[in-house]
Amino acid sequence: MTLFLAVLTPFLGAPLVAWLSRYSRTAAAWGAGLVALGSVLLLVSIVAPVLAGETLVQRIGWLPQVGLDLAFRLDGLGLLFAGLILGIGLLVILYARYYLSERDSLGRLYAYLLLFMGSMLGVVLSENLIQLLIFWELTSLSSFLLIGYWKEREEARHGARMALAITGAGGLALLGGILLLGEITGSYELTVILASGELIRAHPLYLPTLILVLLGAFTKSAQFPFHFWLPHAMAAPTPVSAYLHSATMVKAGVFLLARLFPALSGTWEWSHLVGGVGLITLLMGAFIALFKHDLKGLLAYSTISHLGLITCLFGIGTPLAAVAGVFHIINHAIFKASLFMAAGIIDHETGTRDMRRINGLWKFMPHTATLAMVAAAAMAGVPLFNGFLSKEMFFAEAVSMGTMMKFGWLLPFAVTIAGIFAVAYSLRFVHDVFFNGDPIDLPRTPHEPPRWMKVPVEVLVALCLLVGILPALTVEPILALAAGAVLQAPLPDHDLAIWHGFNPALWMSVIALIGGGLMYAARKPMFALHARHENRLDARRVYNALLEGLLGFARGLTRRLDNSSLQRMLALFVSFALLLGFSGWFGGGFGNNSPLTGPRALLPVDAVSLFAALAMAGVSLAVLKLHRQRFVALVMIGAVGLLVALIFVKFSAPDLALTQLSVEVVTVILLLLALYFLPQHTPAESNTGRRARDAVLALLAGVGISALAWAVLTRPYTSIADYFLENSVSGGGGHNVVNVILVDFRGFDTLGEITVLALAGLAIFAMLDKLRLEGRGCDDVGRAWNWDTHPAIMASLTRLLLPLALLVSTFILLRGHNLPGGGFIAGLITAVALIMQYLANGVAWTHERLPSNMHPLIGAGLAIATLTGLASFAFDHPFLSSTFSHVHWPIVGEFELASAMAFDLGVYLVVVGATLQILIHLGLMHDASHGPDACPIPSGQRHKAGR
């Protein structure tokens, strides 16, 4: 639970800090710092057993039924990474407070930063790999927000999008890899997977698994050929770069390599893929870094190069190389974070990052210069600084690996060249910026930054020196813990001393230092050469071409399928449905072993049914024939609906018949109201060919459905209905099984359905709000629709009918549990009764007596239904469990009360509310659409109208 809280704390803190920043910038910084500190304290509280070498696994049941747990794991590796994430995170929070200008929202930056921090913690502390992947994707998303922080800048948006596209795609590959790992080992828990290395490596799916996992790691850690997103991510504010590109985001990839090291490493494929890609990235990054004039660009490519170094070490795959890899992760995080911060200070103070213009800053900021020089020395691998130690271990590993391979001498050779470049670009960083003449045309005069902006750099630089000089006292314990967790085996002998005697590694270091110095001295002709050949090979261009190609393909496909004609889309849709239907039909061996007609005994046809069926078919086809005369078509379709209700009556579905009947009334009234605002006739537009095509499609659809219905109706079947029939009375307390299913067995579905109904009512309200429709006072030949809008007899009758109708609907509602009826039907009857008032008495008259705002009614209905469901929690039953009992009321007699009836009341209210909402609104628009004298009354009719 503690681990879960430690991961959760930054997520909870993010909105809090964003809110705090409304009050003051300092408050936001303190808030963010305290949140990070909270996570630190939570981890410290449980760290003791981990320091003793144990692995702590904590799990919280999430969906125990399907074996899904939230599982967290704290071991040496996780602890090391959590320390880097939180420690450097705290320094970055302090630094960002002074880096960001007043115009930028500090709260937003801190909120994103904390989201990212939580996601990273989740990655390094997950025991379950699926859970790890979720956090992994969260780091991609939150880094997208961070890189695009200056969202008004185009380069920031592009950089953010590119980072998301590349790392997101890698995340998908990783998902595949993790699923395969789960398939091979039967578990997603790291404990199991790390112990099944033999099984995984021997499995036929090993290679695809490895490639997919590596795709995830390489994209995240900016390894060749996916490295190009990292320099573009430099559009982020520098504190973000310092955080993402030193200790966190890009380290997630190498973390994964370290985490899965025992499971995947030790094969030919591993060493060649991981080692090869690492080596290429190491060389390429170091080479490009030298030629970058942008301060952050240099650091970005140097980061790529160092990540390549770490990847290469894991690729070499010996236990000692893994130790060196973990060591370099620590060292690189420390010196690179401080270098980015120093670069940020320089950018902040001079207003530019172009090293051709920033020169001679030593005179202006000696303090910052000293700090940056120490960090750069660590980056170059100068003795007495931390980078030297891990780099020397790397050299030694390269030599010993080289002796075991054909052409093995190439490896130390390549590695030394990379070392030369690293020294050269570090020298350039120091010499170009702090010496090399005077600054050229700077936007501002530089001076030392605020005191507290330097503190984080000082802390990190002090660590560089401490680790570099006293490795055994400072870093050895945590390194041993972390490396032990990576290897899942006893540590090899390693010696973190500065002096190992005159061995090949030392000579390689010496060559790198001298060669780097010489290369920097000869930089001018090299820069000129490079400038001529730059942009020859730009991975970004490949990425853009791929992206453009993909988008172009998608656009082309969309254009071809969709000419924004609904008719065409629907025709395509129906055609495809027919194709699928018929192919299923004939593909399933129709005709041979499965005849169309099944063996079920059929019901005899009686004369009345035959007549009704013929009438229905006739009316339907008449609607088709007359559909251009909209009013006629509408009246006739009402008849079809009534005949459908008769079918329900005939075949033992009284509830359906009642529902269909009342819905039909409401629908026809609704469509009549709407038709008023629409043209009364449909013009004949389609040509004969179009009509013939549609007729063929329609006929095929009809024939297909008929055949399907016939095939099903003539076959016997077994139903789960017996369960409902048997338990309806004993379990649900109702005799009307349909109603008991609705309000009890499947009450959750019904709750969803009335929610949909409520939403439809509200959506229609929103859609028609403030809409003014043109209505016509007269018909086509200039007559008013009606001279006697509200006939007195009808008005009186409906007023008399209202209480009776309401009584009937109450009766239907109450008896619904045992006899045909229920909330749906009762609601519709009530709605019809009230709508009758509007029709007969006019909107104005009814409006005075009935509230037109139905929102409270809908809300109350949903609330009652939901609360009825929730009430069962109070009795320790699942949602929507029902209960019932029989009470004896005076006069009424024996009466049954069921909690499901309260639910049905909710259904009733929603149905009444939504139906009235829709119809009343439309009715109101009628009155608003034309004035009382919209139609001049012909003189012969005046006396009638004057009544």
């Binding site: 609904l566 579905a653 629409l678 109706l713 019904t750 809409l771």
Partner: protein, 109 residues
Amino acid sequence: MEALIALLIGVLTTCGVYLLLRGRTFPVVLGLTFLSYAVNLFLFAMGRLAIGQPPVIGTGLPGYTDPLPQALVLTAIVIGFAMTAFVIMLALKARAELGNDHVDGKDGE
């Protein structure tokens, strides 16, 4: 009797699909109404046809028809009404905003 029902479902579907493919909003709404009838009847028929056997316990009748498709169709009828209402209001809105009632909002194509 089964043949009659199957035939009727087919006729309703044919009318529905044909009207669905028209170019003006009102016929399309009528087509959707037809399709609702057809789909509701089809779903209902999945419980097979039975005469005089309503699923109400204790009526003294010889048997019960399948109540489950009936419960499904009951809500489907009501939701169908909500859908029809929504679509027709959308048609009104489109007519007000676009000035015509063509489904693509393009008059005189």
